[in-house]
């Protein structure tokens, strides 16, 4: 009835056939996807310095894209105005930041198209970013970034951060990268002495931090962006601003 054993039908539906390899159901020998697990960041950005004051928030970050130890790209803006109520700063892998930036911008466009009076709020963006970051880390394919979200929600200023592990928290003073070690103590000290900062005072503090970070962070640059959201003035991103460098003390330091 059959010409050769090579053409024999399977013993049962989806079962083994004589002369053929049988793939047991549920076991796959070939890898399903060829994506790399984990990463190393390529072009990176350093610290973000952010501070919440009485009627708003300030976020600042320099404009350097480092290629390892090489200060390669000196005009990489990384503070983004999302909408009138939200500003976003990012450190870490610059390519990942650009990808997430595109997705967020598309979200804003979709919202504009709906045109139904509802605008994205800072806490919503922060929550959504947290879910994305945590999801990616759970797949061992993180966005190698540290995001800082600032804005005003229900009349109150808001400042939050999410990192590549999906760890998220909100605070009045948030600094990422080297800023966490160098700028946070500076800012905490100043806020302890003067809890009700005005916009001008907050900005001066942040400028001072950018100066100190330029002296001490080996992957920093003296040009930076600074963004503010204020109850009265909306969201403004300014830059590039030059750090006020003062090397007079240099000869005293070993």
């Amino acid at each position: 009835m059959f010409n050769s054993v090579m053409n024999a039908p399977p013993f049962w539906h989806n079962g083994p056939a004589p002369g053929a390899f049988y793939n047991f159901p549920g076991a796959s020998t070939t890898p399903q996807d060829f994506r790399q697990h984990s990463q190393a960041p390529v072009t990176t950005a350093t610290s973000i310095v952010a501070l919440q004051y009485k009627t708003g928030v300030v976020i600042a970050g320099d404009m350097l894209g480092s290629y390892g130890s090489l200060a390669r790209y000196r005009n990489c803006p990384r503070i983004l105005k999302v909408n009138d109520n939200i500003i976003l700063g990012a450190g870490g892998d610059y390519a990942d930041f650009q990808y997430v930036k595109d997705i967020i911008e598309q979200k804003i466009i979709d919202e504009d198209c709906l045109d139904d009076g509802f605008k994205l709020k800072p806490k919503s963006l922060y929550c959504w970013l947290t879910r994305i970051m945590y999801n990616r880390r759970s797949k061992f394919d993180p966005f190698w970034n540290n995001f800082v979200v600032g804005g005003i929600q229900d009349g109150e200023p808001f400042l939050g951060t999410v990192d590549k592990l999906g760890t998220a928290y909100a605070d009045k003073i948030i600094c990422t990268g080297y800023g966490a070690y160098i700028a946070v103590p500076l800012l905490r000290d100043a806020v302890e002495k003067n809890p009700n900062l005005t916009k001008v005072e907050a900005r001066q503090l942040v400028e001072k931090c950018m100066e100190v970070l330029y002296y001490r962070d080996a992957r920093s640059f003296p040009k930076y962006q600074i963004a503010t959201i204020d109850e009265t003035e909306g969201a403004v991103v300014e830059g590039p601003i030059d750090v006020n460098q003062n090397w007079n003390l240099a000869h005293m330091i070993q």
């Binding site: 709906l114 139904d116 009076g117 509802f118 709020k121 806490k123 919503s124 922060y126 929550c127 959504w128 879910r131």
Partner: protein
């Protein structure tokens, strides 16, 4: 005359430019018992007349919780209503989980509309056979009431009634529309109960077992009202005979009423086509 030739599937146009399957689906809504929705400047109330298949079984649920700030009344195929309310609940939960924001009602209803539209443009399926009254409270937009139809249309309403014999309820709501905006919570519910009762034939009454009421507002999480409170509110309804006297009194002589009657006749003609 040619209806039967062009009504086999949802994707065939009739020569008159109608989709008969979609219109048949709208008829299914009229088979369900009456559901009423109305809103004031602060509250939204949804009411449903629960039917029971026979004396031994419980009355069919008519009003459902969707989220803390959204509720929904159904009329038509209950199984389709379950699928749609499951969808709405998932969307609301997603909004809370991913965006820490309660779902704006407008957007939820638009998503429902998009979902239902697919069923009116695909071969092999059928439109949803259920009409919904979706009521809720938005921080930005305030109280909202939407009517959703199997045709995938949705309408922002001040008050609405759908289902079997709902024309009388709609008439009551139209006549009393101006009173709703500033009504207090209990007053609004009683207006709704009157509207619901008007859909019943003369020898039937609203009871604690066949009436369900849901209220949602800025301060009140979406909740079905307990039997005791319903009993209390039902006792405050005007007696049937007294209401009929009042209606007759209104109908005598004023031009405005005859215009309304004409309008009702026009509406009911459109529905019977």
């Amino acid at each position: 005359m040619f209806r039967n030739q062009y009504d086999s599937d949802a994707i065939t146009w009739s020569p008159q430019g109608r989709l008969h399957q979609v219109e048949y689906a709208m008829e299914a809504v009229k088979q369900g018992s009456c559901a009423v929705g109305l809103k004031s400047s602060t509250h939204v109330v949804l009411l449903g007349l629960k039917r029971s298949a026979h004396e031994l079984s419980t009355h069919q649920k008519k009003v459902l919780y969707i989220d803390d700030h959204i509720g929904c009344a159904i009329a038509g195929l209950t199984s389709d209503a379950r699928m749609l309310s499951k969808f709405m609940r998932t969307e609301c939960l997603h909004s809370k989980f991913a965006f820490e924001t309660p779902m704006p009602i407008q957007r939820l209803v638009a998503k429902l509309g998009d979902k239902a539209q697919v069923t009116t443009q695909q071969y092999g399926g059928r439109p949803y056979g259920v009409g919904l009254l979706i009521g809720g409270f938005d921080k930005i937009a305030g109280p909202k009431l939407y009517q959703f139809c199997p045709s995938a249309n949705f309408f922002d309403c001040q008050a609405m009634a759908i289902g079997s014999r709902s024309q009388s309820s709609r008439t009551y709501l139209e006549r009393n529309l101006s009173k709703f905006l500033n009504a207090k919570r209990d007053e609004l519910i009683i207006y709704g109960l009157h509207a619901l009762r008007d859909s019943l034939p003369n020898n039937y009454e609203l009871t604690v077992h066949n009436t369900s009421v849901l209220v949602v507002s800025a301060n009140e999480v979406c909740k079905l009202i307990e039997e005791e409170e319903i009993a209390k509110l039902l006792s405050q309804l005007e007696s049937r005979s007294k209401r009929e006297e009042t209606i007759e009194g209104e109908e005598v002589g004023t031009k405005k009423d005859s215009e309304q009657e004409q309008h009702e006749r026009d509406l009911s003609m459109q529905l019977d086509e």
